[in-house]
């Protein structure tokens, strides 16, 4: 049976997914590792770990597509694509009704408008400044001295969210501190933080047509506070799959499968791009 892999080397976390093609396309295994300083190693580990989880030897994997931020430091796999194409593809695979993807990662936020067969119609991204990204949230969590996975649930208990002015991830620390000093509740502050990011992200996202269904991808999708805040500002619900964090990798894997059954070919898949490690 045909097996392909997608590896999303993110700025913060590296995600690997194995997919197989027999009848329908199904996900065999997932793997998540912190990217850390050695990007190549992270990619390698994630890939190996996925194979281990799937209990197959890496050599059984026919084609590997690399994507994500790390693409620029290493060319991993047999070919690479931008995370924009991959997130769109992944979202389309998991929820075919997707017309808009909102991806919030460790250090960027994207909005992608997606066509009926998963192709990217239009996209915008914020990537020059950590303001309003996963890192922003991680920071806030540090300042509050609580875990990343707690801030979301905490913010849900808010009665009256505070107003956060600065978007600078660094300055927000002193904002939070002074709010705490004023005796504001943790939940109200975190709710304020989430709201501030949601507004910022959407005012960027509105550069592309935001049409339903809206699917949220990227690690921040695991943060219920962010999901709710975005939905509040959007005024509609979003699709949030448990696989949201893996969407980029899934998309990459789908492309890899398509490559294998020749159903689809990118001209970018030229040798100088496929200087692959992998196997």
């Amino acid at each position: 049976m045909r097996i392909a892999a997608g590896v999303d080397v993110g700025s913060t976390q590296t995600k690997a997914v194995l997919m197989t093609e027999n009848g329908g396309r199904t996900i065999l295994a997932r793997a998540l590792v912190d990217t850390g300083a050695n990007v190549r190693k992270a990619a390698e580990n994630a890939f190996q770990l996925a194979c281990h989880n799937a209990e197959i030897p890496p050599t059984d994997v026919g084609f590997v597509v690399g994507t994500g931020y790390g693409r620029y430091n290493i060319s991993f796999g047999n070919a690479q694509l931008t995370e924009i194409s991959c997130h769109a593809r992944g979202a389309h695979f998991v929820c075919p009704s997707t017309r808009t993807v909102i991806d919030m990662g460790g250090q960027d936020a994207k909005a992608i408008s997606v066509g009926s067969d998963g192709q990217v119609l239009d996209f915008v991204m914020n990537d020059k400044c950590a303001a309003g990204t996963g890192r922003f949230l991680a920071n806030a969590a540090d300042v509050m001295g609580i875990g990343l996975d707690e801030i979301g649930p905490l913010s849900q208990r808010a009665a009256r969210p505070v107003r956060i002015a600065t978007v600078c991830t660094v300055f927000v620390e002193s904002d939070i501190l002074s709010y705490l000093a004023q005796g504001k509740k943790g939940e109200d502050i975190m709710a304020g933080v989430h709201l501030a990011i949601a507004k910022r992200t959407l005012s960027l996202a509105r550069r592309v047509p935001i049409e339903p269904d809206i699917t949220m991808t990227g690690g921040v999708a695991r943060n219920i506070g962010m999901v709710r805040a975005l939905e509040e500002v959007l005024g509609t619900k979003m699709q949030v799959s448990p696989d949201a964090h893996f969407m980029g990798a899934i998309g990459a894997a789908v492309f890899a499968l398509e490559k294998m059954d020749q159903s689809f070919e990118f001209s970018t898949w030229r040798p100088e791009h496929a200087a692959g490690s992998g196997h």
């Binding site: 700025s11 300083a37 990007v39 620029y72 430091n73 020059k128």
Partner: protein
């Protein structure tokens, strides 16, 4: 003896200094102490002050006057006066280096360039307001990321053989650039020096915009890092003054200005008695 406490409530740490003045014109520093700023500024200030008192072996009751500075200056209820960290930083630097006309303060979140008059009075200044790029935070994160302790940063940076410049100095996205270098096999030393160079670049730009002249004095916690001092000196082609307790300079300045205020108050009081 008149005893005045200066407390600098910084974004990262709160630092307290005790300055005494007898009838002789010159001051003497009796003690200093620090505490993590955290949420409760008042608490941090109290702790830092206590540490300073212990350091000096004196009791709280000996203090005549308390001047606070730094971004938490209003958060301290038991202050007699609050002064901005820019005014106090200049004053402190001037006290330590009377010939200096120009101060560079690189703290955790902020970078400030200040020019001052002969008396240490602020003339012009610039600060980074919207964006924390190029502040001490950047280095803290870089250090964390490279898995070395902040204390070692300066030393290592000095050992650089060919520094790798960092283009984006977003205090938060430090990693993304550093990744490139690490995976390109650049040594930790060269990366750190690269960071110091780009911080120095920004700082020098700021200094020029305020109309830098004469000796430059570097204050703020980042001055603890020998690497940035070297980088600055190379860029300026001149020596840069660094006080041994560079992160206490604002507190010191506040204390000195506190003394001024105290003296004024007492003069007024005595005059009223006369009349």
């Amino acid at each position: 003896m008149r005893l005045v406490a200066g407390i600098d409530c910084g974004s990262g740490f709160t630092k307290a200094v005790l300055v005494a003045k007898n009838d002789s014109p010159d001051f003497s520093v009796l003690g200093k102490g620090r505490a993590k700023s955290g949420i409760n500024m008042e608490e941090a200030a109290r702790t830092a002050l206590q540490a300073a008192l212990d350091d000096a072996g004196l009791g709280r009751d000996r203090i005549h006057y308390i001047a606070t500075t730094g971004f938490g200056r209003y958060g301290v209820g038991f202050r007699d006066i609050q002064i901005t960290e820019i005014t106090s930083g200049a004053r402190g630097a001037h006290y330590l280096f009377p010939n200096s006309r120009c101060v560079l303060d690189i703290g955790g979140q902020s970078t400030r360039a200040i020019t001052m008059g002969v008396s240490g009075k602020v003339r012009t200044f610039k600060t980074n307001d919207k964006c924390a790029a190029g502040s001490g935070m950047f280095i803290v994160r870089a250090a964390k990321y490279l898995e070395i302790s902040i204390e070692d940063v300066g030393r290592l940076s000095l050992q650089a053989t060919n520094p790798q410049p960092i283009s984006s100095v977003c205090a938060v996205l430090a990693e993304s650039e550093i990744i490139n270098h690490v995976s390109a096999g650049v040594s930790v030393e060269n990366i750190l020096r690269g960071i110091h160079d780009s911080l120095a670049d920004r700082a020098v730009g700021m200094l020029k915009r305020v109309g830098m002249e004469g000796e430059v004095t570097l204050i703020g916690g980042v001055a603890l890092q020998a690497g940035i001092v070297k980088a600055l000196q190379e860029k300026l082609g001149a020596k840069v003054n660094v006080a041994p307790d560079c992160d206490y300079v604002c507190a010191l300045g506040a204390a000195l200005l506190g003394h001024k205020r105290l003296a004024m108050k007492e003069n007024l009081a005595s005059m009223q008695q006369v009349s």
